[in-house]
């Protein structure tokens, strides 16, 4: 037995793949937390925002005298007072050269475009005094007509921003014929109209509210050489850039810290008016200032998600082989183009074709402004919308052909031996196995038994019908290759950065540019580094979320942290090993070529001599005995820019019981088998899947942001915006298949958004499946008992949302058109 083998036998069990409980938990379960609102600084002032009650108005006068005289008040600022230093909330993604983008001032100066916009800021000694005084600020508004409905906005009869002359922000197209990745979609549709199958549908993606549990909070301390901002943000680095780009403060004079951050889901992927207003007031007063929003403020001012109308045309041959897909979206941006903003629908452009082998494809989105809260990324951002559309359509196609929904999918999906596969949208999927995931999911679900029960309930005319919903999803995540972002006119890169510092006493600091807010990076990154460097898991400390500690980063969103940021960490670890190797060779008095690194130890081939990486770190720190001319450090940095996106996939199966007498629905069973490549920590992965599932299920069943005809958000608190509770949900059956990604070293794929992307259509497909025999082929989300009941009564889809009606998108008399589609309740009114 050789020495090398001896060492190998001492190799600690691999950390990667181990269900490690989280390092983060100890503080969080004992209340030893650092939320932004916990921060107290000497002399700190508290801010309250005065917000417009009107959806659309000009400001004619603001009287602040009474507020200034109120107890505890130090100052009151209007937009006019702050306009020279407050900066502007910019969009990073103008999707077309001629995009219309209204200026978004943190504190409005003369014009407000949605209810909840800030018009003045009160600074007082306590938050209660600030809020009291905010009530005393007297604002004269001249109310303007507001445009609230997306389809109304498209008519340009009432303008959200009269100065722009139109509500249309931009148009963006991906055409497979034009870019050479497929055929002409109109030809495919025309061909299908002649003897094939054409499915035409219009689906609504209702407006959602991210509803992270920690309300947003910002503290600014202007008293240091750098202005320090703590904020409940997913994007401290992006925030620092945007402050520097728009306020005149040099980037080097700004430090942004994201301390403990209580959830985000895209909702804290923003640079907010509140952050900029707090900064401006703190700079004006020269005192630390804090603003923490109430939940009602979160609802009306934090960005919303989704909000699309989707006009879809799917062409297929008579046997169900798909040939073409045309997507025409209308997207509501709300009042302003947010940081990703108009790019969110574009992120769906490559995903409507999903896992299916369409010959021709075209994606179009037209983005509009309305006088509602701005819209931006919410868990999935563009891909849930796409997945919903295609997975609903595939069910419709299955009905048209008369086969099981799984059969129609299998007929059309990419086979496991066809990877890598370049899709009709032009994306190259590196790996996957849809057959394996589906087979496993079917078995765990008891698919055939549930189909038999469904049949039996149909035949016995059971008042409670059973429906089975399928969603065989994929998505693209791991944002993003910088060159692709550049080609799409996105304002930044998609790389991620990491540093590893080998401390003299044997512990390791890992600095990551990602900014976790619940995902468990401290644990997962420790596992990666412990394996790579052969150091104990406990000895690794992961640092993040402070631009002074982690100066380079692109933060956390788009399921990018592991696949991009984790790879950067791994590459930094490899560089540490490379830098340590000549020092180890020197210490071992061996040639570098004879030194090999295994399980934390540099050994000399064929001998039992070895030195651990921690010993090399100590020797490097003392610097007493190093090779001539060598730099005395083994610390290393790495920045990783991915070549491609990450393409997780999975098969989700949902069984819903529908009471046909009341419209009540009940989830009976939910199974998902996700393929997210190599799993670093199965415990964390399960958590991401569970949480993602419930957010997607919530879109299907419960959530929706509703406005009244004055433009007031009526779902403006947790009383009316109905988040699911533990009593609404069930326990899930989750499992995995593994097709490692070929785009990163560890073979990982993103998991943060997968559950949300996949689950919404699975649930709606199940409900529709339960009542299809009653003449229903669509129910608008959220599928409340009232809507389900109405759909059953109508024997046709109820295509209305709230009190507003859907105008038909399609010409009457066109083939395959559902006669009641869109016209069921509304077109004549």
């Amino acid at each position: 037995m050789t020495i090398t083998e001896d060492r190998a036998s001492e190799t600690p069990a691999a950390e990667i793949g181990k269900a490690r409980t989280r390092k983060e938990d100890q503080r969080l379960i004992t209340g030893r937390t650092r939320w932004t609102d916990n921060i107290q600084l000497p002399g700190m002032l508290h801010l309250a925002m005065v917000r417009s009650p009107f959806a659309h108005a000009t400001i004619s006068a603001i009287s602040v005298d009474e507020a200034k005289g109120a107890p505890g008040v130090i100052a009151v600022f209007t937009g006019e007072d702050l306009k020279d230093i407050q900066g502007v909330n910019i969009t990073a993604w103008p999707i077309s050269a001629d995009q219309k983008t209204p200026d978004h001032l943190p504190v409005a100066v003369s014009h407000v475009a949605h209810a909840g916009e800030i018009v003045a800021v009160v600074a007082a000694r306590s938050s209660a005094e600030a809020r009291d005084a905010a009530e005393l600020v007297d604002v004269d508004y001249d109310e303007l007509p507001a445009v609230l409905d997306l389809k109304e906005a498209a008519k340009d009869e009432v303008l959200a921003h009269p100065d722009l002359g139109t509500n249309k922000s931009a148009f963006w197209q991906l055409d497979s014929a034009g870019q050479g990745s497929g055929g002409d979609v109109d030809e495919a549709i025309a061909k299908a109209r002649d003897g094939g199958i054409v499915i035409e549908r219009e689906y609504r993606q209702q407006r959602l509210i991210p509803a992270f549990m920690e309300p947003r909070s910002t503290v600014v301390d202007p008293t240091g050489e750098q202005v320090t901002m703590w904020s409940a943000t997913q994007v401290p680095h992006v925030l620092r850039f945007c402050i520097a780009a728009t306020t005149g403060l040099p980037e080097s004079k700004i430090r942004v810290i994201a301390p403990d951050v209580g959830g985000g889901f895209g909702g804290k992927l923003q640079t907010t008016p509140e952050e900029f207003a707090t900064l401006a007031v703190a700079r004006k007063l020269g005192k630390p200032c804090k603003f923490t929003e109430t939940r009602s403020e979160t609802m009306v001012s934090g960005h919303h998600g989704r909000d699309q109308w989707q006009k879809l045309t799917l062409a297929a041959e008579k046997d169900g082989t798909v040939t073409g897909l045309k997507v025409e979206l209308m997207a509501d941006l709300g009042a302003y183009a947010a940081i990703v903003g108009g790019g969110v629908p574009v992120l769906g452009a490559w995903m409507f074709n999903s896992i299916y082998k369409f010959g021709a494809y075209q994606f179009n989105t037209t983005n509009y402004y309305t006088n509602k809260t701005w819209v931006d990324a919410y868990r999935g951002a563009g891909r849930p919308e796409a997945t919903y559309a295609i997975e609903r359509l595939m069910d419709e196609l299955a009905v048209e052909v008369g086969v099981d929904p799984l059969e129609i999918r299998e007929k059309n999906w990419i086979k496991h031996d066809e990877f890598p596969f370049t899709t009709v949208a032009g994306m190259t999927y590196d790996s996957g196995n849809y057959e394996a995931a589906t087979a496993k999911a079917k078995e765990l679900f008891g698919y055939d038994e549930l189909r038999a029960e469904q049949k039996q309930r149909r035949e016995s005319n059971d008042p409670v019908q059973l429906g089975l919903g399928v969603s065989t999803f994929t998505e693209m995540c791991g944002l993003a290759p910088s060159r692709i972002l550049g080609a799409l006119s996105y304002g930044a890169g998609g790389w991620e950065s990491a540093s590893i510092r080998m401390l003299a006493t044997g512990t390791v600091e890992v600095v990551t540019g990602t900014s976790p807010h619940g995902q468990g990076h401290e644990t997962a990154w420790s596992q990666i580094v412990a394996d790579r460097l052969g150091v104990p898991f406990e000895n690794v400390e992961v640092l993040h979320g402070d631009t002074q500690i982690a100066p380079k980063g692109m933060d956390s969103y788009g399921s990018r942290s592991l696949v991009v940021g984790g790879e950067a960490v791994l590459r930094a670890a490899d560089k540490v090993i490379e830098k340590a190797k000549p020092i180890a060779a020197h210490l071992l008095e061996a040639s570098v070529d004879d030194v090999e690194f295994k399980a934390g130890t540099f050994g000399v081939k064929g001998t039992d001599k070895g030195v651990t990486i921690s010993e090399v770190a100590l020797a490097t720190w003392t610097g007493h005995n190093l090779p001539d001319g060598i730099e005395p450090t083994i610390d290393a940095d790495a920045t990783f820019d991915p070549d491609n996106f990450s393409f997780p996939h999975g098969t989700h199966l949902c069984a819903m019981e529908v009471d046909t007498e009341t419209g009540a629905t009940k989830m009976r069973k939910y199974v998902c088998v996700d393929d997210i490549g190599t799993i670093i920590n199965p415990l964390i992965v399960e958590g991401q899947v569970h949480g993602g599932l419930v957010q997607g299920i919530a879109q299907a069943l419960w959530e929706g942001a509703e406005y009244d005809d004055q433009g007031t958000l009526v779902t403006g608190s947790f009383v009316d915006y109905t988040l699911p509770t533990s009593a609404d949900t069930i326990s899930f059956i989750t499992d995995h298949t593994t097709s490692p990604s070929t785009y990163n070293t560890l073979g990982t794929k993103g998991v943060g958004e997968a559950g949300t992307i996949a689950s919404t259509p699975a649930v709606v497909n199940a409900i529709v499946d339960a009542v299809r025999h009653l003449g229903v082929n669509d129910i608008v989300m959220p599928c409340t008992p009232e809507r389900v009941w109405k759909a059953i009564q109508a024997g046709s889809p109820v295509n209305t949302e709230g009190e507003r009606d859907a105008a038909p998108h399609f010409d009457e008399g066109a083939p395959n058109q559902d006669p009641a589609s869109g016209a069921s309740e509304g077109s004549g009114q």
Binding site: T21, R22, E24, D25, Q26, R27, L28, I29, T30, G31, R32, T33, W35, D37, N38, Q40, A128, A211, F212, M213, E214, P215, D260, V261, G262, G263, F265, T294, R295, S296, H517, G518, Q519, G520, L683, I684, E686, G687, Q688, H690, G691, G692, L693, V694, Q695, S717, F718, V719, L723, P724, T725, S726, A727, T729, S731, F732, G755
Partner: protein, 160 residues
């Protein structure tokens, strides 16, 4: 201002408070007990849940003056002698928290639930936690945590 005498996490405090001060504000701003957090303004989310004389209350829904003469336990006072409470331990072991913002309230409510019902069914757990919102976990592992804590507590009871 009104004087109140409150015991919080085993320490007696005597303070002047504005009568309108909520218990959660008193805990956070007055005593620096920032482990207890605020998640909404309509008493829907339960993030601020503490125990008042051993029973869970949403501390945004109680005035500080109502706690006068009473005993409050927050998440910060749940562990004893450096030993985690079985519910805290179960939350950690079953990965029942992600961002951790709802966690203090969720744990305090779970303790109360188990005090009322030492051997709850899954449905009873789900209904018992209905007043506490979590956006990260989908509740799946929170239910598991409470089930595990119930087992641990009952074996502790048998052992003692």
């Amino acid at each position: 201002m009104t004087r109140i005498n409150v015991t919080v996490d085993g320490v007696r405090y005597s303070d002047e408070v504005e009568p309108r001060t909520l218990l959660v504000q008193y805990l956070r701003e007055g005593l620096g007990k920032t482990g207890t957090v605020v998640g909404c303004d309509t008493s829907n989310c339960g993030a601020c849940t503490v125990h008042l004389d051993g029973t869970s209350v949403k501390s945004c829904n109680v005035l500080a003056v109502q706690a006068d003469g009473h005993e409050v336990t927050t998440i910060e006072g749940l562990a004893t002698d450096g030993e985690l409470h079985p519910v805290q331990r179960a939350f950690h072991e079953t990965h029942a928290l992600q961002c951790g913002y709802c966690t203090p309230g969720m744990i305090m409510q779970a303790c109360d639930l188990l005090k009322e019902n030492a051997d709850p069914s899954e449905q009873e757990i789900r209904e018992g936690l209905e007043g506490n919102l979590c956006r990260c976990t989908g509740y799946h592992n929170i239910v598991k945590a409470v089930q595990q804590a119930a087992k641990d507590l009952s074996s502790q009871a048998v052992g003692s």
